[in-house]
Every structure is written in structure tokens, then in C-alpha cells.
């Protein structure tokens, strides 16, 4: 019984990290209609910056928000340099749909190479700010540590804040309108370009949080080639798709579902099958219910 409960906790814990990544991807999708494969790379960069900040300030709680701010700035920079160029030079013809995808992939490679050049390809360590030892219920230690709890609260907090921004503020309305119908938004006087940059900035902050939290929640080690970031990239995307790319709560739900499924596979079957199961789940959702669990619209012609 306790193992089942632990498995739940592990699943939700992992899922919450993927949720942050998924949120970042959904944010970019909703504000720009681009799937940013470089999101994990940008999160990686933010993590390294966080590492530097922890070294300099010795305090994780200062480093985290600062890294998020810097992540936001970097993300905005990418939007201005890369995405606007993409839009300006957008071609028609057969490759048109592929160009943004390849461009963000190129960016991913570029970021990884730069990180390797500056910091090297070896692992760096970030000390977790909270204990990773599980809470005790009576005699048993459950798979929930203060660190895990922090992550869960952080994700919850972000979802609430972002949900509020999107649904209840003028900024959120601008963001949504610019994503759904950029032309109408322009005609309504919204500075669509600036709004898009803001959307990317928010996504950058979310990604930074995802990267840092995932690192300290795990082994504390990170490197450009690390498995964790391939995981983050893939599972963030898969989680976003499962939840339906259109909604933030959907992304979180998708991530939790993914986390739980993978926890089951990991504990009861075998750890190495994790990727394949995730892949199978992705395929299943895309083929059976392409709009994801929460999504309303049908039709997946991106």
C-alpha cells in the first residue's frame, strides 16, 4: 500500500516538473503559434545562470527568481532576433511550415554548444535548498520531501498566477487575442509584436523555473548532454500535447498523467522503457484524441 502511495507521489512530483516545461511550451504556442523546440535549451541556459547566481550569492532563494528574470529576458531576446526574422522572411512554398521547427532546433543546438564552450561538458552541481529526505508518517518515510513539496507548490502557484493573468487581465486578453487572430488584434490596436515578446518572456521565466527546480529536485547535476534535459524536452512536449496545446490547466493535467504513467512503468516494469512508453502514449493521444484531454477544437492542421 505504501508503495502505491509512494508511486503516486513520485509520479506527481515528476509530473509537476514536466508541467512547468509544458506550460512554457503552451505559452509560446498560444502567443506565437510556434512549437519552440529550443525551450528546453533555454531552460538549460537559465539553469546554468542559476548555478552561477547560487555560487555568487550562496542563496538559492535569491538565485531562483533572478534566474527566472534573466530567463525571461533571454527568451524575449530570442523572440526579437529569431522569431521576428522568421516572420519577416517567411516564405511560401513547401518548406514554409518546417522553417520555424528547424530554426528552433538550430537554436537548441546553438545554445547547447555555447553552454559547452563556456562551462564545459562536465556535470556541474547545484545544491538543493531544502531537504530531499522524505517526510515521515509514523514509522514510514514517504516519497515526498520538502523539496518535492516546494516544487509542487511552485507549479501550483504558477498555474494560478498565469491562469489569472490570461483570463482576468487586459494583458491576458491581448495575449489570447494575438494568438487566436493576430490580424483582428492588430486592427483592434493591439501591438501584436510586443505582446508576442511578452508571451515569450513569460515562457522563458517558466522554463527557467523548470530547469532549476528539476535539477535540484533530481541529482543536482546538470550538463549540456545530460539525460535530464532530453527528458525535459521530450516530456514537456508530450505533456503539452496530451493536455491539448490550448490550455494551461490542460498542460498541467497532461504532465501529471504522464508523470504517473511513467512512475508506474519505472517501478513495476523497467526504468529503461520509460521513453518508449512516453512515445507510445504520445502516439496514442495524437491518433485517438488529437485535441488532448482538455482541448475543445478538433482539427490539428498546424
Amino acid at each position: 500500500m505504501i508503495q502505491f502511495f509512494n508511486m503516486l507521489l513520485i509520479g506527481i512530483g515528476a509530473g509537476s516538473i514536466y508541467a512547468l516545461m509544458a506550460i512554457a511550451m503552451v505559452l509560446v504556442w498560444r502567443s506565437t503559434r510556434v512549437i519552440n523546440f529550443a525551450q528546453a535549451g533555454m531552460a538549460l541556459l537559465s539553469t546554468y545562470i542559476g548555478f552561477e547566481l547560487v555560487q555568487k550569492t550562496g542563496n538559492f532563494w535569491i538565485a531562483l527568481p533572478l534566474a527566472m528574470v534573466l530567463g525571461a529576458l533571454f527568451s524575449a531576446l530570442v523572440e526579437i532576433l529569431l522569431i521576428r526574422t522568421l516572420i519577416k522572411h517567411s516564405t511560401s512554398g513547401p518548406v514554409a511550415g518546417i522553417v520555424p521547427i528547424i530554426a528552433t532546433l538550430g537554436l537548441l543546438g546553438l545554445i547547447r554548444a555555447c553552454i559547452g564552450m563556456i562551462w564545459g561538458n562536465q556535470d556541474i552541481q547545484i545544491q538543493p535548498p531544502l531537504s530531499k529526505v522524505g517526510f515521515k508518517i509514523g514509522e514510514e518515510t514517504i516519497a515526498l520531501s520538502p523539496m518535492n513539496l516546494l516544487v509542487l507548490l511552485a507549479v501550483l502557484g504558477m498555474v494560478v498566477i498565469l491562469g489569472f493573468i490570461f483570463q482576468k487581465t487586459s494583458l491576458g486578453l491581448s495575449l489570447r487575442a494575438s494568438a487566436y487572430s493576430p490580424e483582428i488584434a492588430q486592427l483592434a490596436g493591439i501591438r501584436v509584436g510586443a505582446i508576442r515578446t511578452i508571451g515569450w518572456a513569460i515562457a522563458g521565466a517558466a522554463g527557467a523555473a523548470a530547469g532549476l527546480l528539476q535539477t535540484v529536485n533530481g541529482t543536482g547535476a546538470v550538463s549540456p548532454d545530460s539525460l535530464e534535459f532530453s527528458l525535459l524536452l521530450t516530456f514537456g512536449f508530450i505533456a503539452a500535447v496530451i493536455g491539448g496545446l490550448e490550455s494551461l490547466p490542460g498542460a498541467v493535467l497532461g504532465a501529471v498523467v504522464l508523470g504517473l504513467v511513467l512512475a508506474v512503468v519505472q517501478i513495476y516494469i523497467s526504468g529503461t522503457l520509460v521513453f518508449i512508453v512516453a512515445f507510445a502514449l504520445l502516439l496514442l493521444v495524437l491518433l485517438v484524441r488529437p485535441q488532448g484531454f482538455i482541448g475543445v477544437k478538433a482539427g490539428r492542421r498546424a
Binding site: R176, A177, S181, E183, I184, A185, L187, A188, G189, I190
Partner: protein, 236 residues
């Protein structure tokens, strides 16, 4: 303030969509732009609102140069464009669509007042504020689109085929409403329409476009009486 367009030339890739169009609309008047499909009517409006780029020529709304700058900036100079087809954001509610038009406005109190005015003009919208825009009927959607445009407190309204796909009774209502906006608010309106008769009946002046250039223009009454226009566009 007048809308003055001179020798406008707009290209669509290799095709010259508008070749040397000139016309003027005096303040507070409704000018209809009619012509067959593909005559360049929509392109004209899109160029005036900043969505398309002009190759040559000039277009001014008062002092404001319409051919320079992004659409967002023209809105701030009082130009509001209701584009052809789906000019509402389907995924947003009616109220959100209206609010959209006023987001850029600094004075929130005035914006709220404008919303009240728009709801008075289109009571049906007032009944459906929290519904998603894609649950509205065609006529209601058109009202919402015009309402959204009015929320920007424009003084130049560019309307692209508001009657498209609507039932005759609804078309009549919409046209009456448009004429009402001109009369009561002193709005200057450029009304692009395929429904030539309906447009001419409520217009003060009119321009007939054919294959990208002005075939004829003048007061609406003159054009209704013009035999060539009647034969080509009015069906009798």
C-alpha cells in the same frame, strides 16, 4: 477631416491589385465602394488600414498618413477596420471581443462608457455578453465586429462587406444601423460592398472599382440613376 486617396497603387506579388485609384470622402459622409469580385475593394481597405503595403501613391486621413506605419498605429489615429469574413475572435466571449477594441485606450472610464453605448446600439449583444463569439448567428457576429470597431472610438470606419452571407432582413438592419452611426455620431464611413443596391441606398457618395481602377464615381443618387451602373451592378 477628409479621407484623401491619390493615385494609389498596390501590388499582390506579381499582380497589380490596385492601379491608380483616387477618391475623397468628406468628413461625416458615407462612401460606398462597389464592384465585382476581385475588383480590388478589399485590398483597398486593407491598404488604408495598414495591413497591406502600397507600392505608390498617397492616402491621408486628415493629417495622418495611412500608408506609413503598422495597423496598430492607425487605430490610435481614429481608423477602425472591420475586415471581411470572420472579424470576431471566435474563441473569446462577446464581452471580451468588445473589450478588445478598447484595450489600447488609456481612459478606462471612457472606454466603459463606449461599451455602454455599443450595447445600447446592439442590445442583442448585451444579452449575450458571456457567450463565446462562435455561438452567435451571422448577423450577431457582424454586429459584434462593428461593435468592436466602435470600441476604439474611431472617426473613420472601414467596413468590408458586412452583408456577406446574411439574410435579407438582417442585411437591412445592418445597413440601417450603419447609416444611423453616420448620422448620430458624425462618423466617416467607407463601405465596401458586393450588395451594390443596398450600399448605394444608404451612401452619400460612391466609387465603382473595376479591375483595380476607378470606373466611375460621384454622388450615390447619380450612380443609382446611371444606366451603365444599373446594368452592371444593380441588375436592371
Amino acid at each position: 477631416m477628409s479621407l484623401i486617396v491619390k493615385d494609389l497603387i498596390v501590388d499582390h506579388g506579381a499582380i497589380r491589385a490596385i492601379s491608380g485609384v483616387s477618391f475623397t470622402v468628406e468628413t461625416g459622409k458615407l462612401s460606398a465602394v462597389i464592384g465585382a469580385n476581385g475588383a480590388g475593394k478589399s485590398t483597398l481597405l486593407r491598404t488604408l488600414s495598414g495591413l497591406n503595403k502600397a507600392a505608390e501613391g498617397t492616402a491621408h486621413w486628415g493629417e495622418h498618413n495611412l500608408l506609413h506605419g503598422k495597423p496598430e498605429s492607425h487605430v490610435r489615429s481614429g481608423v477602425s477596420h472591420v475586415s471581411e469574413g470572420k472579424s470576431v475572435v471566435a474563441e473569446l466571449t462577446v464581452e471580451e471581443n468588445l473589450d478588445l477594441g478598447a484595450l489600447w485606450r488609456r481612459n478606462k472610464k471612457e472606454a466603459a462608457e463606449t461599451k455602454q453605448q455599443v450595447i445600447e446600439l446592439f442590445p442583442r449583444l448585451g444579452e449575450r455578453l458571456s457567450q463565446r463569439a462562435d455561438t452567435l448567428s451571422g448577423g450577431e457576429r457582424q454586429m459584434l465586429a462593428i461593435g468592436r470597431a466602435l470600441m476604439s472610438k474611431p472617426n473613420l470606419l472601414l467596413l468590408d462587406e458586412p452583408s456577406l452571407g446574411l439574410a435579407p432582413l438582417v442585411i437591412e438592419q445592418i445597413f440601417q444601423t450603419i447609416r444611423g452611426i453616420v448620422d448620430s455620431m458624425g462618423m466617416t464611413v467607407v463601405l465596401v460592398e458586393q450588395n451594390a443596391m443596398g450600399a448605394l441606398k444608404i451612401a452619400d457618395t460612391a466609387v465603382v472599382l473595376n479591375l483595380g481602377s476607378v470606373a466611375t464615381s460621384g454622388s450615390a443618387a447619380d450612380l443609382i440613376a446611371d444606366p451603365a451602373v444599373r446594368a452592371a451592378y444593380l441588375g436592371y
